[in-house]
Symmetry: C2
Subunit: 363 residues, 2 copies
């Protein structure tokens, strides 16, 4: 088992990474303050892992709420099911919420914990690669609104994160790829040595070799933790974690949430950012083509949806949270391993990238 500490002063917490951690009672108990635990999971994950976690929590008042599966349910109505369960089972301020599932479960459970009685403890048990490398670190929680993704939420840090690589054996292929998009992102934005490692080990990652996965998760969390520690509430440097996200959110929103997986949209969005960086003279044509190959080797799409016009992208990008006073701000690459935020985007080059179609990233 690998242990990593996210250093946030009195809100610091550990991430435990390894195989077979789910049933390890000793990992959970130091992080449970009271006698009550509410496990929040979904209908896909519950049959696989709920029983095991409940057994690890023997001796506590353990209640559960099983949500419908999917981003479409990440809303206030579904969130209310968590509040209902907490109140029906009379959970008090010392209760601990436990998120067992992917990013949607983690975001909703975390936000319920942030807001129930103005804040209670929670533990993250992410069961997808994406949630293990992304939502494990950063404390972002929340739900969607019909008019925008993640528009309602809070920053709320967990007591600990337990990332069991064993759960990745039940993960659908597409979701493994979607998780790899975020892994690649860390290399791209701040860690060229890790990017190199990913290129060399992409076959092992796709074959789900436990050691390779554990290393990729640990290094990703480490990279993210370093960025977050510098900027807990996203006022500056942290924005680089959104590489590919402004493009990606536009794709997700235009296609309808759930059609493209978040990681797939971010993967293509990163390629767009790199393509634009190449047009701006920052990224070399070799680097650009290598990224395209790596995304392909990861099973990710390398062409945006063919039904989207440049205006379809631009209008969606205008309502992104990164927009300040009407200007589009984008995270772009200075080179592989170094990202920056800018609101100085040459409109003509941006349009060329958006219209590149299957020439995207081919330099």
């Amino acid at each position: 088992m690998n242990t990593l500490t996210v250093d946030l002063g009195d809100r610091s917490y550990p991430i435990f990474i390894g195989a077979g951690l789910l049933g390890n009672s000793a990992l959970f108990t130091p992080y449970i303050k009271g006698r009550q635990v509410l496990i929040v999971t979904n209908e896909t994950v519950a049959p696989l892992y709920l029983q095991q976690v409940k057994e690890a929590l023997a001796g506590y008042q353990v209640d559960e709420v099983i949500l419908p599966d999917g981003e479409a349910y990440k809303d206030l109505t579904t969130l209310n099911l968590i509040y209902d369960a907490l109140l029906q089972k009379q959970h008090n301020r010392t209760t601990t919420l436990l998120a067992l599932g992917g990013g949607v479960v983690g975001d909703m459970c975390g936000y319920a914990a942030a807001s129930y009685q103005r804040g209670v403890n929670f533990i993250q048990v992410p069961t997808t690669l994406l949630s293990q490398v992304d939502s494990s670190v950063g404390g972002k929680t929340g739900v969607n609104h019909p008019l925008g993704k993640n528009m309602i939420g809070a920053f709320h840090q967990p007591q600990c994160v337990i990332a069991d690589t064993g759960t990745l054996n039940t993960l659908p292929e597409r979701e493994l790829s979607a998780g790899l998009a975020e892994v690649i992102k860390y290399g791209l934005i701040c860690d060229p040595a890790f990017y190199q490692w990913i290129k060399e080990n992409i076959a092992a990652l796709m074959a789900r070799e436990p050691k390779a996965l554990a290393y990729a998760i640990e290094r990703s969390c480490q990279d993210k933790a370093e960025v977050v520690a510098q900027d807990e509430t996203e006022s500056g440097i942290r924005a680089i974690l959104n590489l590919g996200h402004t493009f990606g959110h536009a794709i997700e929103a235009h296609q309808g949430y759930g059609q493209w997986l978040h990681g797939e949209a971010v993967g293509t969005g990163m390629l767009m950012a790199a393509d634009l960086g190449w047009r701006m003279g920052h990224v070399s044509s070799e680097e650009l083509r290598e990224l395209r190959s790596l995304l392909q080797a990861s099973g990710l799409p390398v062409v945006g949806p063919l039904n989207m016009s440049a205006d379809d992208y631009l209008s969606r990008m205008q309502v992104d949270k990164k927009v300040l006073d009407g200007r589009i701000r984008l995270v772009l690459l200075q080179r592989i391993g170094e990202a920056y935020m800018t609101s100085e985007v040459p409109k003509d080059l941006l349009t060329q990238t958006l219209l590149a179609g299957d020439k995207l990233g081919t330099a």
Copy 2:
């Protein structure tokens, strides 16, 4: 105009107290970061003061959302009207929410600000005595759930509070009295000199003399700010601010929210706490009778609802947020001017207080 600073480190903020502040543009503008403001108010307050505040905000993108009036609407459904307005009008992270109204408007607007895009700025413009002395300080925001009051919320501090005593001239008599209950509370829990002042000036307060009101608001906010500064997230000493609230919540919940005003229920709840304190040998019979007279002079009820049995109280008190692991914890009086929290409540004396009927507080 009196100015008071609530000292919370980098979340410190000023409270401005005086007559005719609503239209004073110079008070608002230093606390508005971006170019967008959403005024949250209700159908009762809007016709009285909305126009004046909008004029003070000339030059900004000012949008408004007018909520139905009343505690019954302090829920997730009504909260969503605020998110809808923010997103329909494309408010971004630099927006400022402005709460114009009483406690319900302030709690909901504050919670919308805490959660919109994971937190934006807000300004409180409380227009009732209760909200001027209570929700102005402390950063508590939130909404009710059908199974419990204030069960969903966050701690979120405003940028500034503007308490215009002029707005109290349109306040119904019952609401003035309800506000005075909280004013009296500060004297009771931590400020015997202020308690003495209130006894001497209750007629002036009931006659809405502006100077007396401004002094009472300032001193109340000062007292509350001192307690809150010691304990921002209510883990200890801050609990004394809940004097009378556990009894009061039981009354409100049993009668149906809105039947008894919050301040009325808290007033009677404080008399219950004092009555119990007298039975426990802490409060003198003279002090107890004086408090009863002061509450009467403030136009407040001094007898609980006659349809409530001791069990009706006790079962409601069990689900209060102050309950930890099944034990009722109560704020009681050591003497006038000194409150304490205890979970050692003699059951028989508590029952005598709950069954005292119109003998409550008569020693």
